[in-house]
Symmetry: C2
DNA sequence: GTCAACTGAAAAAACCTTTTCTCAAAAAAT
DNA sequence: ATTTTTTGAGAAAAGGTTTTTTCAGTTGAC
């Protein structure tokens, strides 16, 4: 048995509507778009007939004329990571209400592939492009300057004079430390990722300005192993031990919690641990579940979507970097029940 | 300062090419498409001119005429999970070579939203649709029958007489158990997810037919906590203890490994543990790193992409369920170094 | 030297909408 | 009763491309 390709049924066009309603094509068009002048009766009849026979306008033909395709492209090099996913969901969610569809372009880290995708999108007359990535301080390996359509950057480094959306990591770090302090913790240590990351430096600076300039920052890598090692390192030394750890991501936090438990140190009774990212799968499965900082990436995606739409419609948008606030997610690894308001 | 929307530069059309090359529009078109009859010199000249002035054909106009938009839609309700991501990457990768772009439609589990997305895609004249999900035995909450375009299902339950791609979980389970046996393990227990999942039953059946019909299967939930509890349960009982655990996913495996270590049981020396999913972030960060089964989801996406393309082009495709083989990923949690060939 | 066949290239139609222009009929104003 | 305004709706153009048709000029055969 062969599969029906389904391509046989021919689509109904505005011609069919016009014929069925007994009017001209132009009248049909005007009736459906609520433009032009005509009798109420005629307009209603056309609309009714159109919906009866299931007419849906061909977006290609419409786009050809209006020079708007109601389509935008989302370029990302983060195919497996956890960052682009919520961003994509936010973009898609924000734009579907406006009848705009999103082209997904996974370019890995291949400049040639990126180029191919950008050209394909341009050929398809996208109204705009959102560039997204897995790291705030790295550019996508594609040249997006001098494109005939607007470009917005989300969670990746943008070109000068462009619009860029990113999380406010300093705000997130401040939230974290203030929460620890409100739990009565005074000897907080920041265990984080590689110094090369801009967000590591940014969070560390915010951490110091809230926890005190002499507060300690340990840089390592983004892994559980490092969280584990950092605890070993801290507890092997002489002198007073920390009473709280602010970790650079949830994986480090998880490693730290495990290491503390292995040492017989109770979390959160003896030491509070707070993570970053709110990666459900890590944060919620840690025992105890991690209190952490959420970067609100879906909201970030939503705003990026609305912004590229505004630009596409010619509405003015101020260029610059927009930092979106983070949100504290309280679980059990710090004690306490809800964020102070 | 206001941001340049970039919309000003007007696109160059085939008219410009024709004018610049001193030929008619039709000749320009034929030259560029290698169709029609004309002198080699003319053809070359047109091509050269076109590339010089940077001509790119408008896909909207082309699609309007050819009734092919070189666009397909990817519908998924798995916005955060780990399954759709590799599938999407595979689809995108397979189709970009054919000049086909992919619309990403995240529909959560909202039927209304799904309907909106499907209609938007149809309006945009997609050549086909790929439906993807997070569970093999659940349908997407959208009616995709009687669509004017072909539909292919990937990692979600398909309609009767459709083309569906899924992983061969029985094969994966067989690979896992045979590997454990090749390590000399004879008392394997299968710790897995809820019985309601089709793949749980399928893997359990395969497990029993390789490990012996009396081999034990423990069903729980898909969490680390369950893996932990299952080990407690098994080791608290009297009698002979298992010498290997085949876990239903990497998270369960991780919980099991942690529980074993807490009991002073060495992995893999005393007990081998194998996971399922090859979720890098869990499998690679477990200590020891997990040997696990990869469902080859990217390949699955690639094949789904090529299949929907074939259907769109009217090439015949046999309907039915295609099960794709899994792949064993050897790390350290079972001992051994490489899969036997 | 006439006619057929072939060659190269242009003209026109088609795809589906939207928008501007035109025009006849009806209503209002003189 | 005649002119002006308003109303309703059709005709045509535009958007960028591909495809079919047409046509003039050349070549080859008889």
């Amino acid at each position: 048995m062969r599969l029906d390709t389904g391509g046989a049924k021919k689509r109904i066009t505005i011609h069919d509507v016009a014929a069925a309603a007994g009017v001209s094509i132009s009248t049909a068009s005007k009736a459906l778009n609520n433009t032009g002048r005509m009798g109420d009766e005629t307009r209603e009849r056309v609309k009714r007939v159109a919906s009866e026979i299931g007419f849906r306008p061909n977006a290609l033909a419409r786009g050809l004329l209006s020079k708007r395709s109601f389509t935008i492209g989302l370029l990302t090099n983060d195919t497996y990571g956890r960052f682009t996913l919520p961003v994509m969901a936010g973009v898609s969610e924000a734009l579907v209400d406006h009848g705009v569809s999103v082209f997904l372009c996974a370019i890995e880290d291949d400049p040639a592939l990126g180029q191919v995708h950008v050209e394909a999108m341009l050929d398809k007359q996208v109204d705009g492009i959102i560039a997204s990535g897995k790291r705030l301080d790295r550019r996508l390996p594609v040249d997006l300057s001098n494109l005939p359509v607007p470009v917005v950057y989300a969670f990746t480094e943008g070109a000068p004079d462009s619009v860029t959306f990113r999380s406010d990591d300093a705000h997130g770090a401040t939230l974290a430390v203030e929460w620890l302090q409100s739990m009565g913790r005074r000897r907080v240590v920041h265990v984080t990722g590689p110094k090369e990351f801009f967000s590591v430096r940014e969070r560390a600076d915010a951490f110091r300005s809230v926890a005190g300039e002499s507060a300690e920052v340990l840089c390592g890598i983004w892994s559980e192993g490092w969280g584990h090692d950092a605890v070993d390192q801290l507890w092997k030394r002489d002198g007073e031990k920390p009473d709280a750890l602010f970790c650079g991501n949830d994986q480090i936090a998880r490693g730290a919690v495990d290491a503390l438990r292995e040492r017989g140190i109770r979390v959160p009774e003896d030491v509070s641990v707070i993570g970053f990212d709110n990666w459900e799968i890590v944060a919620a499965q840690t025992r105890p579940p991690l209190t952490t900082v959420d970067m609100e990436l879906k909201e970030l995606g939503r705003q990026a979507g609305l912004t590229v739409l505004a630009l596409a419609e010619g509405r003015p948008v101020e260029p610059g970097v927009r930092k979106l606030p983070c949100r504290l997610v309280v679980r059990q690894s710090c004690g306490g029940n809800s964020p102070k308001l």
